[in-house]
């Protein structure tokens, strides 16, 4: 009997999660430790350093979110094992403990009392072991179910709402029906369509949680009293023909497919592997949203673009999908899947959606995306407020 699931060749992690890449991640806890992390990555082939500007004197929920993102990135199923480096031992250990809960190998190092050079040496010796171990892990055939994905659009234009987003919506429905999780976010960019999103959440508790998150986000923006029309829609959006935030939002939500929204996650909430379609509170900045999705376990991100966004991530492949024939021609090296024939109505929505789905299967099986090859390794933790 054949399974109802398509299969992929992927990595099964000790906690049962499924990854599509096999990275050894070098994770600095703070800005000061970026140099040592980059030093290890320079010495040891097959490692990837994940530098970022934060981690000092953050406090409260903002600090919790940084830990959530750093531990979550190391815990991501696409990571075989991780090295954590911090200026002080305590926070490095805290991040490493979060990763160790998945059962994967992780080692933490503090730079104080050692200096960069000794730390780089100690960390590099462990990183070398991890890379050699990782190189022997084989891909295994698994059903395409219980896997986490994420979606976002960027540098959108009206071709996103007309073609690339509806085609992605087809893929989202298919992944949800197979028992996977698909995360979406972009809280502020739902403005003008937030009622449509809310109405797709049947559980009243989850619906009010979503509306509370949405209203709080928008109130933070409006409290600043600034000219938001200068940034929403963006200059690229306007060039592409989008006139207002409402128009952008209605195009944005075309990619959510048609299934009910069965999960609502705030910044610190975990997202289960079979949650279905899941709203995650994120900013609408591409790298910030993908960084949070990956920290919550997404192993593959689908990214639709009109005018041409470049974003990638250090540990998860980002598939770029566009329907804008001008962008596809001008920025061909960044686009993985061309659905401009859907814009021109030469193919059906199903054909365009299947094209994206089949490409995603190839990427899950190991094909590198444009963003991976072009070294777009953006890692941008969301920062909630000022540091102390």
């Amino acid at each position: 009997m054949t399974s109802k699931y398509p299969t992929i060749k992927a990595y099964i992690r000790p906690d049962g999660s499924i990854g599509v890449r096999n990275h050894v991640a070098i994770i600095p806890v703070d800005d000061l430790s970026n140099t040592a992390a980059l030093g290890v990555a320079k010495l040891i082939r097959g490692t990837i350093a994940i530098p970022h500007p934060y981690g000092r004197l953050q406090f409260g929920r903002d600090l919790d979110l940084l830990f959530h993102i750093l531990s979550g990135t190391g815990a991501n199923p696409n990571v075989y094992g991780a090295i954590v480096i911090g200026i002080e031992d305590n926070w490095a250990n805290k991040v490493a403990d979060g990763i160790a809960k998945t059962g994967k190998p992780v080692y933490a190092f503090g730079i104080e009392g050692n200096g960069d050079l000794r730390t780089i040496e100690m960390a590099s010796r462990k990183a070398k072991e991890l890379v050699q171990e990782a190189s022997e892990v084989q891909r295994t055939e698994v059903d395409l179910t219980g896997i986490q994905f994420s979606i976002k659009c960027g540098e959108s234009d009206t071709t996103s709402g007309l073609a690339s987003n509806p085609a992605l919506g087809y893929v989202v429905d298919k992944l949800v029906d197979l028992g996977n999780t698909v995360m979406f976010g972009e809280t502020s960019e739902l403005t003008g369509g937030e009622d449509i999103v809310a109405n797709r959440i049947s559980d009243p508790t989850l619906r009010s949680k979503f509306m509370k998150i949405y209203n709080e986000y928008v109130s933070v923006i409006e409290r600043e009293g600034v000219d938001l029309l200068g940034s929403q829609p963006t200059e690229g959006n306007i060039k592409g023909g989008l006139s207002t935030i409402e128009e952008k939002a209605l195009g944005n939500i075309q990619k959510l497919g048609t299934r009910p929204i069965t999960c609502v996650a705030d910044y610190l909430d975990p997202v289960p592997r079979n949650a279905g379609l899941c709203f995650v509170n994120t900013s609408s900045a591409a790298a910030e949203a993908i960084t949070l999705f990956a920290a919550k376990g997404s192993v593959l991100h689908f990214f639709t673009t009109g005018q041409g966004n470049l974003v990638g991530h250090p540990v998860i492949p980002v598939i770029k999908i566009s329907a804008n024939p001008k962008t596809i021609k001008a920025m061909s090296e960044h686009i993985d899947v061309d659905v401009s024939d859907l814009l021109e109505l030469k193919v059906s929505l199903t054909e365009a959606g299947e094209r994206i789905f089949n490409y995603a299967l190839r990427v899950m099986n190991g094909r590198l995306t444009a963003a991976e090859v072009l070294q777009h390794d953006e890692f941008s933790p969301i920062k909630l407020y000022i540091s102390a």
Binding site: G225, T244, E246, G306
Partner: protein, 99 residues
């Protein structure tokens, strides 16, 4: 061949799926069933992805796309005109912008 698409039959704007030049008689198409819609004479160039008015829209009237208001006309718009930030503004965030 259709040159602009209409998301919803209630919409008063369509979206160019290729560059439309001023003076062109452009054919529209409804997305939902791909049936042919109105033919509109473009009064201005409408670049790929930009909106064309399907009927006259008065200043203060809502601009409808996806069957939903996406903004409000800031001046009278004639059928065939380019509809964009110069003649439509957000309903939600338009007031904040003027502060």
């Amino acid at each position: 061949m259709p040159r602009f698409a209409i998301h919803n039959r209630e919409d008063n704007v369509g979206v160019a799926i290729e560059d439309i030049k001023a003076g062109d008689e452009a054919q529209g198409v409804y997305i939902e069933d791909r049936s042919m819609g109105p033919v509109i004479k473009a009064l201005e160039d409408i670049p790929l992805g930009h909106k064309i008015a399907l009927r006259d829209i008065k200043a203060g009237e809502r601009v409808i796309k996806y069957g939903r208001p996406i903004g409000v006309a800031t001046r009278d718009i004639k059928v065939g005109e380019h509809v964009h930030v110069h003649n439509v503004k957000s309903i939600r965030w338009g007031n904040l912008a003027r502060r």
